[in-house]
Amino acid sequence: MSIAEMANAAAGLAQFSPAPSLLEIGDSFWLSAVLKIAVVLAVFFVVPLVVGYMEHKVMGHQQARLGPMEAGPHGSLQLVADGIKFIQKEDLIPSAADKWVFAIAPGVAMVPAILIFLVLPLGPGIWGVDFELGLFYALAVGSVTTLGILMGGWASANKFSLIGGLRAAAQLIAYELPLILAGIAVALQAGTLSLVGIVEAQSTFFIPGTEINLWYLFPQILGFGIFFIAAMAELARPPFDMPIADSELVFGYMTEYTGIKYAMYMLTEYAGMVSMSALMVVLYLGGWQLLPGVPMPGCGGSGNIFDCNALGVGLGVAVTLGKIMLLTFLMVWARTTYPRLREDQLQRFSWLVLVPLSLLNLAIIAVAKGVF
């Protein structure tokens, strides 16, 4: 008996049984693993590109210009062209740099960004693993990325990089707390840390006396706001881009990076936008459910969103991706709208505003959970 099982038994809770993934091929462990890795990598490499293209175009039109127009129809292959360019570039390592650390830092930043996708449910049955500690895993693994950033900043032997790396570390510590506290409130309401379980809990969280379920966005709108802001800060997206701050620190921790290593950092940032958005979709927006209270086409039962045929699965994935696009669009919108905060203002905002608010949110949810 594992420790978790013993704890569950002591608390009188039911045994956690992972929801089966559709990506299992029969009983073959290896075939299933290959398929899952292929799906995770495909999502990791393709969705951030789509988000990046969306950002190009949205920023272009919000700024009275067109954005990329030449590579592919309406510039849709611009990022592919950029990727090819990055591969061709000379791989420069500054002579004063700590060469090994400098070389592996982008990888240290990127690998956790891939690993998060393992637990994110993108549709009915479309997930790698249904961990019992899924939310904990996602938040914990996501934080490792900052280690890669700090390593890159330190190893570059460049003052701008160093300041950028240290700012990133300080920012992570400050914003991890509200992020986790907001996440805890969701886990508390759902009664599980499993991401699939949280989606399921939202599909069965009914307005009393009706058949209409509620996403956690509605009871936890405060938590959603905190999570969204903290996620943007975790990702160092503007207006929280102090670690990069191109007008102050040239390009922060990425100043000395070129070519494919630089591309890895950029991919990490955009994959981070996607994974954080996917996490918010799962925690607050009901996962792949189309609309609260509306039965999913292709899924059995009125409120059931798990027992789906091919149509239901396809629609579920499309809905998830659509919601991810919506959230990343909001992040891009914030980028074109706001100036950058100052480092100390950012810290103050986290510790004096977001942390107390997220504690308040947690208290409200805990009391409500106890009362109802």
């Binding site: 920023m59 700024q63 207006p239 007008s247 102050e248 706001y338 100036p339 950058r340 905060l341 100390d344």
Partner: protein
Amino acid sequence: MSDMSTRETVMPGTAPGEDLLIEVTGDGDFQTADMQLSIGPAHPATHGVFRIILEMDGERVVDAHPVIGYMHRGFEKLAEHRDYRQIMALVNRHDWLSGFSNEMGVALAVERMLEMEVPERAQWIRMLIAEWNRILNHLMFTGSFALELGAITPMFYAFREREDIQHMLESATGGRLHFTYNQVGGLKIDLPKGFLRRSAELSAITRARLQDYKDLVLGSDIFQARTVGIGPLSTDVALSYGVSGPTLQATGIPEDSRVTEPYLKYGEIDVPVPVGENGDSFDRFYCLLHRIEASLDVIDQIHDHMPSGPVNVKLPKQVKAPEGATYVRTENPLGQLGYWLESDGGRTPWRLKMRTPSFSNVAVMPHLLRGTLVPDAISVLGSVFFVVGDIDR
């Protein structure tokens, strides 16, 4: 060895009036090694080849040393070997964002020495183009200052406006940046047909769009948090350094050569001069933005006054300023521009000394930067508006 008693010392805090009280053990001050950070000559925040060396304690600037001269092009010496027609094409290059205003200053100086009567229409057109040039310049700094604070969009908006204005000015002068439209005694050619109508149209459009900048930049909470109280400049210090333009007006002094010492026909119209209160980054930007509006007011008045008639006088084959010297000062977009023109009666100046606003404004920088954080240093650097070519000449 030193006594190891503890005592208290005050470190400057993050905002005025929020100083930190720190207990220090041992002798000396807070024992940390200062870091030297060289910003520039090629750095995104210096828009040009300006360099500033910051002595830093953590992110706090202990001292700042501007290093100028990376763009020295020897304009003053070059001018001694160019005749007055050629000088027009030379002086619109030292402050490349105020080309027309620069050449106008030299033309005024030569005309004053020749005691030449410049046709009325030429004077009004000069004012019109100079005000549009001022708006072009200020739009550029509106965009670049917001960009330095991390807001990327105003830059594109500013360039949209600039494009329209430059297109209009190109129709009259043939140039977009270096107009070379002045000549001694007036202007090269008259305005093209429809110019004044287009100018009135653009004035209305620009005025309407200016509201967006006020709402989105000046009214933004984050913008105010980044600029209010940052790098305050007192009146005394500003005057002792010879600071001028929006940077001086931000300290509360309504100094503007167009008002205090009118040249051309500025005496006949009403020139609004915006002033600030605290001389901080916010006030500097406030003055800049409202100077655009003031220029639009002036432009609207010029449209009502525009007379008809010739725009230049017949010149001899070779213009020669008589022996003597004169000093002309004009209110350039960035501040007070002075030309000291000394002639020995030859076809070239004997000496052309330039008093450029950017040079004096940058000189006050170390005073403003001491004690700020790096992001605040950028906020100060961006709000003391300067053009590198105008510093180095």
